[in-house]
């Protein structure tokens, strides 16, 4: 009886412990390096050099490679995710800042900040296959889950440009509040979220009609309104939660993605800009530029559980699942 009980408990525990040992990659903008963090031990396990001013960071479709925007090197570097070795480079147009991978894994859409252009690169051939005129200082870049839309946000033009991927042209422009930094599609592709850094708001669009569904404002007791500067956005795949990084207010907002109500503000590090979720969505990591660290948020309990020191001015974050 005792043995059976012990066996049952053992099975129970084995099933209850989630597979957690993934790798978080963080680009350090001013150090020209990428920090690698083990998401189980929550420690930095590696730091490797990359090109100049690394910012946007994203994984290849097969999850074996990292793509990194090395803005001052005017290139996208392709890095072996296991070893950190730079394999080769992709053309990117000048000053690439953020990019998004098409769901087919073949095309990379890159926002070229200095040139008011979105560049489309075919990954396999390593060639630029299109360049589209957008507004002044494009930064945010997102591709819809169905691959039909690519969105570029222009910081100084204050627009989200809707690019028809097949036609390779801008077919609609949505004026948003000042200085839009980031665009993010829902998991089901029904909504588009756009952050306005200086406007202090996040606008949610209905993808089918391209109409504004909601404009979310933020208010943090004791914090001056102008310090609340929304940048990065992360959405859980069940459509229930939205996280928004609020810059120099040093907090992220936790939003009920259905009612659009802000549920909570979590204090993280200084000048928080971007975030990444583990595949299980049980941990959220934030990049805190000015304090040079990464905060770890326990998502089910909405609590910040650890701060991990990385390089100078951590910017982008991407989680490589390892199972």
């Amino acid at each position: 009886m005792q043995l059976r009980l012990m066996l049952a408990l053992a099975v129970l525990f084995a099933a209850a412990v989630p597979a957690r040992a993934h790798l978080l990659f963080v680009s350090n903008e001013k150090d020209d390096t990428v920090s690698v963090i083990d998401t189980e031990s929550l420690e930095v396990v590696n730091t490797f050099p990359v090109g100049e001013r690394p910012r946007g960071i994203t994984l290849s479709k097969d999850k074996t490679k990292l793509y990194i925007c090395a803005s001052d090197s005017d290139t996208v570097q392709v890095v072996d995710a296991k070893t950190g070795k730079i394999l080769h480079e992709l053309p990117s147009g000048e000053d690439p800042e953020q990019f998004a991978l098409h769901p087919d894994g073949k095309l990379l859409f890159i926002a070229n900040e200095d040139d008011a252009i979105t560049t489309i690169v075919d990954i396999e051939s390593g060639k630029v296959v299109g360049q589209i005129d957008v507004g002044v200082e494009p930064e945010g870049m997102a591709v819809s889950p169905d691959g039909k839309w690519a969105i570029t946000t222009s910081e100084t033009t204050n627009m989200a440009h809707w690019i028809d991927v097949d036609k390779r042209e801008v077919v609609h422009n949505s004026l948003v509040d000042q200085r839009p930094r980031h665009a993010e599609f829902d998991h089901d592709g029904k909504r588009l979220w756009v952050s306005s850094e200086i406007g202090g708001t996040v606008t949610v669009f209905d993808v089918d009609s391209k109409q504004e569904l909601k404009k979310i404002s933020f208010e943090i007791p004791g914090i001056s309104q102008d310090r609340i500067q929304p940048v990065g956005i992360q959405l859980t795949s069940d459509g229930k939660l939205a996280f928004v990084a609020l810059g120099p207010s040093n907090r992220i907002a936790v939003i009920d993605a259905q009612s659009y109500e802000v549920k909570d503000y979590l204090l993280v590090g200084r000048r928080v800009w971007h975030m990444a979720l583990t595949p299980e969505e049980d941990l959220l990591f934030t990049t805190n530029g000015v304090s040079g660290d990464v905060s770890v948020v326990d998502v089910p309990n909405l609590k910040v559980i650890k701060t991990i020191k990385v390089g100078r001015y951590p910017w982008g974050a991407a989680v490589l699942p390892t199972n």
């Binding site: 507004g135 100084t156 033009t157 004026l175 000042q178 200085r179 200086i198 406007g199 120099p248």
Partner: protein, 397 residues
């Protein structure tokens, strides 16, 4: 008979249907063209001891041109286009006559003015300028925002009061409360020195010695002999120099009797803009400017650029080119200008002054950005620098 009636009624039904179809279609966007007049009276550059930092001839103009380029990049998507009309009067030219002629040739609803204070006022008082919106991008006189305000003038460059207040807040933060003030001989120097005195009163710092710089001889050779003696006065925490053209202030540094920081027209300088401002995405603006102008962006360029951008932002948000509509929007609290200083900016209704953080810089870096934490205000901490509403002498409403 029946057939003809049917035909007629059939046609009217068809006509009605067509009309309904046309009226119910969304209004197609018409092309809007907006012209902005850049009006400058170039000034004779005074001879300075050193020519290392001679100001460029196109200071201000390049900023206006960049503003037009930025507006057009946005305007492309809104069927709005912008054009700059450049009227630049040489130093010995008659500014007012040129302005009158320019306004007679074509009405100018939006003007970026880069001219000395009294000429700006004369421009604003021209009957043809009554309905124009003039952005003062060149004259820092505080009185233009105060007793000499005009209903048709907004100021995008900071006033001397704002610059002095910004510096004074920093001095207080550092507890450099005792000031040795050195005033240069030029009228502009006297204005800045007075702004420092007013600021010292406002923020309760002490000017322990107030001296006038009267040296003629070449400071490049004599500074290390003359300056220590000149600055051997009591004790002070900081030396503030008023030397707006940069004739002698650079020779004060490291030559003072006491080892003290120098601020004001050199050393630690309060400015509207400077090439060393890189935060808040400013690198992008600096790059765009450098690529267009072949030099660094200066405060005069920034002020001109800001005026043009205000028009562009208003036109984009109101989807209109109508001057009255844009004027109203620019003056409203709805205006939110993102001008690379880290927060949304708008104009003070009681003075027409663009509220803005003031960078404190030295030649190599940004030191700090005023206003600072701790300086409290009921409505906006940006109003702790410059003229605040309760003390405003501008009587327009």
């Amino acid at each position: 008979m029946l057939e003809r009636n049917s035909l007629k009624s059939g046609l009217s039904v068809l006509a009605a249907a067509c009309l309904w179809l046309v009226l119910s279609m969304p209004q197609a966007r018409a092309q809007t063209d907006i012209e902005i007049l850049y009006l400058e009276h170039q000034q004779e550059r005074p001879a300075t001891l050193s020519n290392l930092d001679a100001p460029p001839e196109d200071d201000g103009l390049q900023g206006a041109r960049l503003g037009i380029a930025d507006n057009n990049t946005t305007g492309r998507f809104l069927k709005q286009s912008y054009r700059l009309r450049e009227v630049i009067v040489p130093p010995d030219g008659d500014f007012l006559a040129a302005a009158r002629q320019a306004l007679a040739e074509k009405p100018a609803p939006f003007i970026i003015a880069n001219a000395p204070a009294d000429e700006l006022l004369a421009l604003a008082d021209l009957p043809q300028a009554k309905d124009a919106l003039i952005f003062n991008a060149g004259a820092a006189e505080t009185r233009l925002r105060d007793a000499d305000c005009r209903a048709n003038v907004l100021h995008t460059g900071p006033s001397r009061a704002m610059l002095a207040d910004a510096l004074m807040q920093f001095l207080i933060k550092k507890q450099w409360n005792d000031i040795l003030l050195i005033e240069g001989p030029r009228p502009e120097d006297q204005l800045f020195a007075q702004a420092i005195r007013d600021s010292a009163k406002k923020f309760r710092t002490q000017i322990v010695a107030d001296k006038k710089w009267t040296f003629g001889p070449d400071m490049r050779r004599n500074a290390s002999a003359e300056v220590p003696l000149f600055t051997q006065v009591d004790d002070y925490d900081v030396v503030v120099v008023a030397d707006e053209v940069g004739d002698f202030s650079q020779y004060i540094l490291y030559n003072t009797w006491l080892p003290r920081p120098v601020a004001g027209s050199d050393g630690l300088m309060p400015v509207g803009w400077n090439r060393v401002v890189e935060q808040w995405g400013a690198v992008q603006l600096q790059n765009r400017f450098r690529e267009q102008a072949g030099r660094d962006m200066r405060a005069g360029d920034y002020a001109a650029w800001a005026g043009v951008r205000a028009v562009g932002e208003a036109a984009a948000r109101t989807n209109s080119g109508d001057p009255e509509t844009l004027d109203a929007y620019i003056r409203s609290p709805d205006l939110k200008l993102a001008l690379f200083k880290g927060r949304a900016l708008d104009f003070r209704p009681w003075s027409g002054q663009l509220r803005q953080p003031i960078p404190l810089v030295h030649r190599g870096a940004l030191v700090a950005l005023a206003p600072f934490e701790g300086f409290l205000h009921q409505k906006s901490d940006l109003d702790t620098i410059g003229i605040d509403q309760p003390e405003a002498k501008c009587k327009l409403n």
